[in-house]
Amino acid sequence: MTPPLLELENLGVRFGGLQALDAIELAVQPGEIFGLLGPNGAGKTTLFNLISGITPPSRGRVLWRGSEITNLDPSRINRLGIARTFQNLRLFHSLNCRDNVLVGLHRQARLPWAAALLGTAAGRRRQQTLRDQAQHLLELLEIGSLAHQPAAALSYGDRRRLEIARALASGPELLLLDEPAAGMNPSEKEALRLLIRRLQSQFKLTVLIIEHHVPLMLSLCDRLAVLNFGKRIALGTPEAVRQDPQVIEAYLGVGGVV
């Protein structure tokens, strides 16, 4: 049996007196779309920060394909194949959309020193290939026409799409999406759902996604985990999670409509 792609063992973090995450156990299998649900402040984004190396955990381990990556810095973790988006959007606002994606292509963009400095024909061709690649990614996310717009000029939904394009550019196996549908209207949400499905199969991605919109999550995800007050209170298929009494009480509220 192959090991899980990503495994969290007894992961916990404290901020001062606050136990933000406590004894989290999770195993994400290759190729699945795994959802994280939970009320605000449940620790979902904190969990992303631990996985992507931004926040060091107080205890526990993060395993990638069976080997430990717990205290690596964010750039190393990205280079291993984990890319993420941010809940409150962290685009490079002074760069245009295409350059934002080109930054994501950083690792592939390496050129021999001489070619980079002298701007040889081979170097220029390479730059053109990279630009085409970036353009292609923008088009996949349906924002190809905005390539030359500064990121700061984009609408909210387009910025979320640009963040996904940028994350894909670094060639991840695991994509962490932090509330990608926030601020979108129902039809945009539906389009996003289809898009994530499409990207997942096209790039053979594993997706870990945080989202508040429960119907979207239930229809999109293969499995779900529910966090509340830093603890994992449920884990399973959408059907199982939806009927879990603890979940109904803690997150959906008694009598909550799903």
């Binding site: 992507s52 931004i54 810095d73 964010p74 750039s75 990205n78 280079r79 890319a83 993420r84 941010f86 962290r90 685009l91 490079f92 606002h93 002074s94 760069l95 350059d99 080109l102 930054v103 994501g104 292509l105 950083h106 690792r107 963009a109 390496r110 050129l111 980079a116 400095l117 002298l118 701007g119 170097g123 730059q127 030359h148 940028r166 994350a167 550019a169 670094s170």
Partner: protein
């Protein structure tokens, strides 16, 4: 000869200003508020002063100092300051914002006071009689122009490839850049070291041009004035600090007719400049706009409205 002599000499100082502006710009273009440039400039100047006055072999017996020796001094100065920048950079670049600024001010002051106290480095008096590779300021200006052009070209190449983009990304959002797989520490260090090299090379040229060198040439005032070059010219493209360096170095000279009020006016200019143009004089947007109107002019040679020819098709 008077006026021409003076003009070439002013031009030379302006070119030095542009080089120093580029040196400050580099760390700033990846968001690092380093004020270390005058320290490395001083290392370059001291290296050149020491080598050219204490190593007779470099003189070559000619009345004019050989240019190859100047190049050699540049190599030595670049090596010394590059190694120092590598070591110091590893330590200080962990600091952010104003902390980094203050640490680099401290570095500059430590270098200055050490030079001041070491007779071997020139001490309080300085080093005099630095030999001249050119017998007039015009020669210096031509040489410096070549150096500046070369460095500008390198900067332009840099901004066009992955390292330049990585630097811009770090300036905008260091954490997000790291999450795209950019080794932020290494990129910042690269900018810091390259900045030190530019400053050191400039110091070598200055030492010969000024004919003497002392510790006061790399002080806190220089930290801030060189930073002003970049704020003035703009810190988002390499052309900004070049323009800022040229203009702000020329300004006190151009203000000479107002006499004693000169430095007061200079102070007023750096007080008001950032208020009027917070992004600096040269921004990528303005350059693009300029490029487009030039294109427009070319397409409509009759001197027609440049705006008409601006958008020939959908973008």
């Amino acid at each position: 000869m008077g006026a021409a002599f003076h003009d070439a000499s002013l031009l030379q100082q302006m070119l030095i200003g542009a080089l120093l502006g580029l040196s400050v710009y580099l760390p700033l273009s990846c968001g690092q508020l380093s004020l270390a440039t005058p320290g490395f400039y001083a290392i370059g100047g001291t290296t050149a002063a020491l080598l050219s006055t204490r190593v007779p072999a470099l003189g070559g017996g000619d009345p004019t100092y050989p240019l190859s020796s100047v190049m050699l001094e540049m190599a030595v100065a670049a090596l010394v300051s590059g190694l120092l920048a590598l070591g110091i950079g590893k330590l200080v670049l962990r600091l952010r914002g104003i902390y980094l600024a203050i640490a680099t001010i401290a570095l500059v002051e430590i270098l200055r006071v050490t030079t001041l106290n070491q007779e071997a480095l020139g001490g309080a008096v300085g080093i005099f009689g630095i030999p001249q590779p050119f017998n007039n300021p015009g020669g210096y200006a031509a040489f410096t122009l070549v150096v500046l052009a070369l460095i500008c070209w390198l900067f332009a190449r840099l901004e066009d490839n992955r390292t330049g983009r990585a630097m811009a990304a770090i300036r905008d959002d260091e954490l997000a850049a790291a999450c795209q797989g950019i080794d932020t520490a290494q990129t910042k260090l690269l900018a810091f070291v390259f900045s030190a090299l530019v400053a050191a090379i400039t110091g070598v040229i200055s030492a010969h041009f000024f004919n003497s060198w002392n510790a006061r040439l790399g002080n806190f005032d220089a930290s801030i004035t060189t930073r002003a070059f970049v704020v003035f010219g703009g810190s988002r493209t390499w052309l900004g600090p070049v323009v800022g360096g040229l203009l702000l170095t020329a300004l006190p000279e151009l203000l000479r007719p107002v006499g004693d009020l000169r430095l007061i006016v200079f102070g007023l200019v750096i007080l008001v400049g950032p208020l009027l143009a917070p992004q600096g004089l040269v921004t990528p947007e303005r350059l693009q706009g300029l490029g487009r109107s030039l294109q427009g002019l070319r397409r409509a040679p009759g001197g027609g409205e440049p705006t008409e020819a601006l958008d020939p098709g959908p973008r």
